[in-house]
Symmetry: C2
Subunit: 380 residues, 2 copies
C-alpha cells in the first residue's frame, strides 16, 4: 500500500498545527446547522430544535483493519461510513463528523492525505460536514477515532428496545458479502506472503470486495421509509452479523424472534465464494458482520407498503419472549440463534481460524503470531 | 501503578459487550437534555434550541502521558477535564461526554475501572453526562479518545478571532505550575530508575503536582463572567502555554499584542521549584502548557468590573497588527513572543532536553531511548 516512489513528506516537517491547517483547508460546509467548523476550541452547531444524535467508533490497525490489503483512501471512506451507519440505525441522518488520527512515523503526510481524501469523499456523498478532530503521533501504528452527530425529529428516532410481538423483521440489501470479501483478501494475502511471485487473484469478485472495502450506510433506506410513511418499531445496523443484532433487539425489547433461513438475502456472488471456500453462506450472514445494512421491525400493517420493495426483505417476525430467539432452517428445524459476532477483546482471527478448523481447513495464521509477539514484547 | 496484589480480571473474560455493560451500569444522567445515553446505536440529546459545541481530544500512552507516574484515576479525570476546558474556552458549559478506550492485554478490568472512576468523578463535579463511547483491544498501550458536547446561547459563545485593538488581555488563575509538576515527576522517575532504593521525594510540592496530575476546567470563570455581565471579546484555554495561545488569538483576530512579564501570574510554589531547577519561571508560563486556565480579552470598559477579582489578572493589551506580538520584560525590553508549546509530532521530551541543555543541565532521558527503539522496531 505504501508506494515508496511517491513523494514522502514527514509529518514532523509540518508539526501538529501545520498538519491540521493542511488537512482542513479545503473543507466546505453544506449543512445549514454548521455555524463554526474547524479552527477554534470547539465547533458550534445549531440544530434548531431538532434532536441531536451522537455516536463514536474507534478503529485500530492490527485490530480493526489490515493495511496490507486496505487502501488508505478506502480505510478513510469506511471509517466515516461505519459512523454514518450508526446514525442511520436510529432512523436518522448523519450531519457532522469529527475525525481524530494518531500515526507512527511510518506514515507520511501523503498517507494521511489519502485517508482524509476517503473521509472527504464519504462526507461529500452523504452531505456531512467535517467539523473538527485531533491529530497525534503514536508509538506504533495507525489509530482513528470518529464521532458523528446526526439530527432528527423526535418522532422519527427509532430505538432498539421498542419492537413488539408479531412485528415483522426486515433487512435491507443482502448479507454476508463483506465477510466473504475479507476472507478472500486474507486468503490472497497468505498466498502472496508464502510466495510473493504469485500475484493476488481478486478478479471477478468486485461485489464482495467492494462490500468489504467500500461499504455504504443505508441512509437511502431511512429516506425511503420516511417517504413511504413507515416508521419502524425498532432498528439497528448490522455491524456484527445478523444474529448478534437480532439478539440485541430481542433482548432490549423483551421479545423472542423467528428468523427463516430461506428468507435471509444473500447475493449470488457471496454464495459462489462461500461454496468455493466450503463455508455455509447462512453462517456468513448470521455471524460475518460489516454489512452495514439496516435490520428493523415493522408493524404487520405496514407489510403491504414494503412487500414489493427490492431493497427490503422480510426475514421473520417477533415472538413472545418465552418462545426464545430462533432460526428456522431450510429443513424446518428450529435452532436457537447464537451471537458469534465481532468482539475486539477476543482474538478475531483466532476465532475465524477455529471456525475453519471445524470445517477441516486448519491453516497457519502468520498475523496472530506477530500480534502475540508484539504483546509479549510489551509486557517485559 | 499496577499493583499486582490486587484482583486482576482479564478483559477477554468479559468481552466487549460485557465490558461496556460493566462500565456503564452505574451511569446516572443529570442533564435534562439527555434523552438516551449508552445502550443504542447513538445517544439522543435535546438542546432545546441552544447551540451545540463539540470538541474532541486524543490521549496516547507514551505521547501524552506516562503511566509510571500518572495514577489511572487521575488520568481519567484529566482526560475529561482537558475536554471540558475546550468548551469553557468557548465561554460555554460542557454537558455531554463520549469516552473511547483501547488497551492492550497488559491492562485488567480493574485498571479500566480506575480510569473510568476518574472520568466519572470529573463528570459528577462538572455535571456532565457520560452518554457513549467505544472500547477495543490495542496492539500496544493505552489510548483514549474523548468527545465533549456543550451548550450555550449564541450570544454567549466567544471565539478566538474576535479580539480588537486596545482590548485588555486577561488570564485566570496562575501559569507554569503544571509544567513544573511534570518536570518534578520526571526528575524523581529518573532518580528512582537509577536507584530503586531511593524513594521519590515529592513532599511539599502538592500544588504543582496537583496542577499536573489533577487540573480543573475553569467553568467557574465562565459562570462568573456571565454573572458579572462581562462578555469577553475573544477566548481560548491555555493547553499549550500562554505564548502559543496569545499568538492564536492575535493571528486569528488580526491584531498584535503587548504582554507584560511582570503581570504574568505565577504561584510561589512554581517560582520555588523553578529556582530549584534553574529554570526561568516566565518560560514555564509562556511555553510549559497544561495549565487549562482561560486566556481572554475584554473591552477596556469592563476593566473596573474585573480589576479586583483575585482569580483574574490583566497581563497586557491588544495592539495594532503592525506592532507585532510582543513580551515586555521586567527590564522594559520588548521581545517578540514565540510559541514553543506542545507539538505531538515533535519530540516533546527531546525539546525539553534541549532546553535543559541550553541551561547546562544535560541529562540522559531513558524514556526517549525506549520510544525510539519502539519506532525502529516497527519500521522493520
Amino acid at each position: 500500500m505504501f508506494d515508496n516512489r511517491k513523494k514522502r513528506t514527514e509529518l514532523s516537517e509540518l508539526g501538529e498545527f501545520g498538519l491540521i491547517d493542511h488537512l482542513t483547508r479545503n473543507i466546505r460546509h453544506r449543512q445549514p446547522a454548521t455555524i463554526k467548523g474547524v479552527g477554534d476550541d470547539a465547533a458550534v452547531l445549531d440544530y434548531q430544535g431538532k434532536k441531536i444524535l451522537v455516536s463514536t467508533d474507534l478503529l485500530l490497525e492490527g485490530v480493526h483493519f489490515d493495511l496490507t490489503f486496505t487502501p488508505l483512501k478506502h480505510l478513510g471512506y469506511k471509517a466515516a461510513i461505519v459512523n454514518f451507519s450508526d446514525i442511520a440505525a436510529m432512523n436518522s441522518l448523519p450531519a457532522h463528523l469529527t475525525v481524530s488520527i494518531a500515526v507512527s512515523n511510518r506514515f507520511s503526510l501523503e498517507a494521511i492525505e489519502e485517508i482524509y481524501s476517503g473521509i472527504q469523499l464519504a462526507c461529500d456523498r452523504y452531505q456531512v460536514d467535517l467539523i473538527g478532530g485531533d491529530t497525534s503521533s503514536s508509538v506504533t501504528g495507525l489509530m482513528m477515532s470518529l464521532t458523528v452527530l446526526g439530527e432528527a425529529e423526535e418522532s422519527d428516532i427509532t430505538y432498539r428496545d421498542t419492537a413488539r410481538e408479531n412485528d415483522l423483521i426486515c433487512v435491507s440489501g443482502d448479507l454476508g458479502a463483506a465477510y466473504m470479501g475479507l476472507l478472500l483478501l486474507e486468503r490472497e494475502k497468505k498466498v502472496f506472503n508464502a510466495d510473493p511471485s504469485i500475484q493476488p487473484d481478486l478478479g471477478g469478485n468486485d461485489y464482495i470486495l467492494q462490500r468489504q472495502l467500500k461499504p455504504e450506510a443505508r441512509v437511502d433506506i431511512v429516506r425511503k421509509l420516511k417517504a413511504l410513511k413507515v416508521k419502524p418499531t425498532a432498528m439497528i445496523d448490522i455491524s456484527d452479523g445478523l444474529a448478534s443484532e437480532v439478539l440485541h433487539i430481542c433482548t432490549d425489547s423483551e421479545t423472542g424472534c423467528a428468523i427463516y433461513e430461506e428468507k435471509i438475502p444473500v447475493d449470488p456472488a457471496t454464495l459462489a465464494m462461500a461454496q468455493e471456500m466450503g463455508i455455509d453462506p447462512t453462517i456468513c450472514a448470521l455471524n460475518g458482520g460489516e454489512d452495514y445494512e439496516l435490520l428493523f421491525t415493522i408493524d404487520i400493517h405496514d407489510y403491504d407498503t414494503l412487500k414489493d420493495d427490492q431493497e427490503i426483505t422480510v426475514i421473520g417476525h417477533m415472538t413472545h419472549q418465552a418462545s426464545g430467539m430462533n432460526l428456522i432452517t431450510r429443513s424446518g428445524t428450529q435452532v436457537p440463534l447464537r451471537a458469534q459476532g465481532w468482539d475486539a477483546f477476543k482474538e478475531r482471527r483466532e476465532e475465524r481460524g477455529e471456525r475453519r478448523e471445524e470445517k477441516g481447513e486448519r491453516r497457519e495464521e502468520g498475523g496472530e503470531r506477530r500480534e502475540e509477539r508484539g504483546e509479549r514484547r510489551e509486557e517485559k
